[in-house]
């Protein structure tokens, strides 16, 4: 199903929740809404589902205007972050419920429920009540209910956020496979850039109720159109700084300078902005050398995350190995100028 948001806004009282947004999702694939909490992911989903009516603008599916159409009349399924199942129904009845409402025959319901229960490894739990299941199994039940309906639009609102690490990875690997054959358009909300990259498909980066950019997930990651998009799509936060170009050199304050990159070669002298991903900022190796002062160093597994004050900005280096530093320590860090992204004064990417 194709779904299009056309000049949609949503205000609750006087407070804008979604600023004017136009977005056409990729039909039959994974569409990821990436943004921090309160960026409007859930609200956008609720608008698509019809649970919320836009203040202005329209929502079109398959070319027809469905703004204001009753939720019951749409082909939509939704899975929430907080494991929503019908508490008084068994797992079987939970999965069967959309089919029962649709008026399918007993035989057909039975067959479908068992097929999806199998797929989601719920067959041994079919007679249990949701509260007798683990969190992962509860969410699988909710997913099975969304799948069995065969809805054209499936909305997954941070479905893995409340699961523990192991289960999350397991289910994340399964998700794209589950929806592969259904032909459904899947919308998946997440706060984690890494999750978006793993799921692939298309991504819309969101910030404070605005869609910043929409496109192929990998290309948004590699070439974010704006600084905001780059910031949303980076965890730990992306490193930014103002640089000035003069002649064939760019200067980062007084701490570093390097040869003018191809992106800026044709442009006039002046101030530009640079962004650099934390894993491109290293403690050794060649490239541009920067002097900084350690703020804090954290170890996460086999990686170290070091926050460094560089010319008034706090930069983050995500680097292999375990390194310990003390606060205030002087440090030299390096990056390859080829990994930098350059933005103009309006924070739009300067692309070749």
């Amino acid at each position: 199903m194709s779904i299009e948001l056309r000049n949609v806004t949503l205000r609750v009282g006087a407070e804008p929740h979604i600023y004017e947004t136009s977005l056409t999702l990729k039909p039959g694939g994974f569409n990821i809404l990436l943004g921090t909490t309160l960026s409007g992911k859930t609200t956008l989903m609720r608008l698509m589902a019809g649970l919320e009516k836009p203040t202005t603008g329209e929502i079109r599916t398959n070319g027809t205007n469905v703004t204001g159409l009753a939720v019951q009349k749409r082909s939509v399924a939704m899975v929430y972050q907080s494991f929503i199942n019908y508490p008084s129904f068994s797992v079987f009845e939970n999965i069967a419920s959309p089919l029962k409402v649709a008026g399918l025959g007993k035989q057909e319901i039975n067959e479908k429920v068992h097929r999806f229960a199998d797929l989601l490894k719920l067959t041994p739990m079919l007679n249990r009540l949701p509260r007798e299941l683990s969190g992962g199994q509860q969410q699988r039940t909710a997913l099975a209910r969304a799948l069995v309906k065969g809805a054209e639009l499936v909305l997954l609102d941070e479905p893995l956020a409340n699961l523990d690490y192991k289960l999350r990875e397991e289910l994340r690997d399964e998700l794209p496979k589950l929806f592969e054959d259904t032909g459904s358009t899947v919308v998946y909300a997440t706060t984690e850039p890494l999750e978006a990259l793993m799921l692939g498909g298309h991504t819309a980066t969101l910030k404070e109720g605005r869609v910043v950019q929409f496109g192929k997930t990998a290309s948004i990651y590699r070439r974010p159109a704006t600084m905001e998009s780059a910031e949303v799509f980076s965890d730990p936060p992306i490193n930014t700084a103002v640089i000035s170009k003069s002649g064939d050199q760019v200067q980062l304050g007084s701490v570093a300078s390097w040869k003018v990159p191809r992106e800026l070669a044709e442009l006039p002298d002046g101030d530009y902005k640079v962004a650099l991903r934390p894993h491109h900022l290293l403690l050794d190796g060649g490239g541009v050398e920067v002097n900084g002062m350690v703020q804090i160093a954290e170890i996460s597994g086999s990686e170290s995350i070091i926050r460094i004050r560089v010319n008034g900005n706090v930069w983050v280096s995500q680097t292999q190995g375990i390194h310990s530093f003390v606060y205030g320590e002087k440090i030299r860090i390096y990056f390859d100028a080829g990994n930098c992204m350059y933005f103009d004064a309006d924070e739009n990417l300067i692309d070749l």
Binding site: Y80, I84, S88
Partner: protein, 267 residues
Amino acid sequence: MTRSKKWIVPTLYILFLMLPIYGLLSMSFKTTNEILGGFSFFPQEFTLDNYIVIFTDPTWYMGYVNSIIYVVINTLLSVTVALPAAYAFSRYRFLGDKHLFFWLLTNRMAPPAVFALPFFQLYSAINLFDTHIAVALAHCLFNIPLAVWILEGFMSGVPKELDETAFLDGYSFWRFFIRIFIPTIAAGIGVTMFFCFMYSWVELLLAKTLTSVEAKPIAATMTRTASSSGYELGLLAAAGSLTIVPGAIVIYFVRNYIAKGFALGRV
């Protein structure tokens, strides 16, 4: 205190609590003469006569029947009306919702005596005086606000996403409400019914004012007997003991839910 002595405090506590009930029960097995004669811990001449009178004399047992009829009508009426109201308060924001909710509660704060006279006049005017439905309706004034208040707490404990999931699954509102929502808050409905039942069961003033013969409640029968034919204390004790029974039965069924109601801070 050593481990083996731990039973002492709860035992004393329970004994202390049970003492008045024991007093009533033991009186109900005595003759009135024995009760008036002096204090005895056990009945000297054990008799079931008091209970036999109650179960054979219609003026007595119809009191129980009348009470049970209007209490059941009232409980069902209150819960039926309060369910949609509580749903609205828990799920929707509308102009003045909080004030309306508070206003409902203020009905519970007014003493029944305030309403007794106007109610008497009103129910007489519409020919409902001395009917079960009259008392059941009058008690709604106190029980519906109570039921809305308790149910709203239970309903607000159910995430709104459950409703939305059901609508997305294709459920119409009423099908969702009856098939999914009501079973989900069954515990809350049990607790609510208990409180409505108990209030209506013990309320005397309105029940007495609005009835004379046909729908006379047991409590009214008890007061009138005490004044007309001398002090039939044995009979009154037996009647009193029997009034505890319905409440005890209802408590037995909802005992597990009451704790849940307390946890929600609404009971």
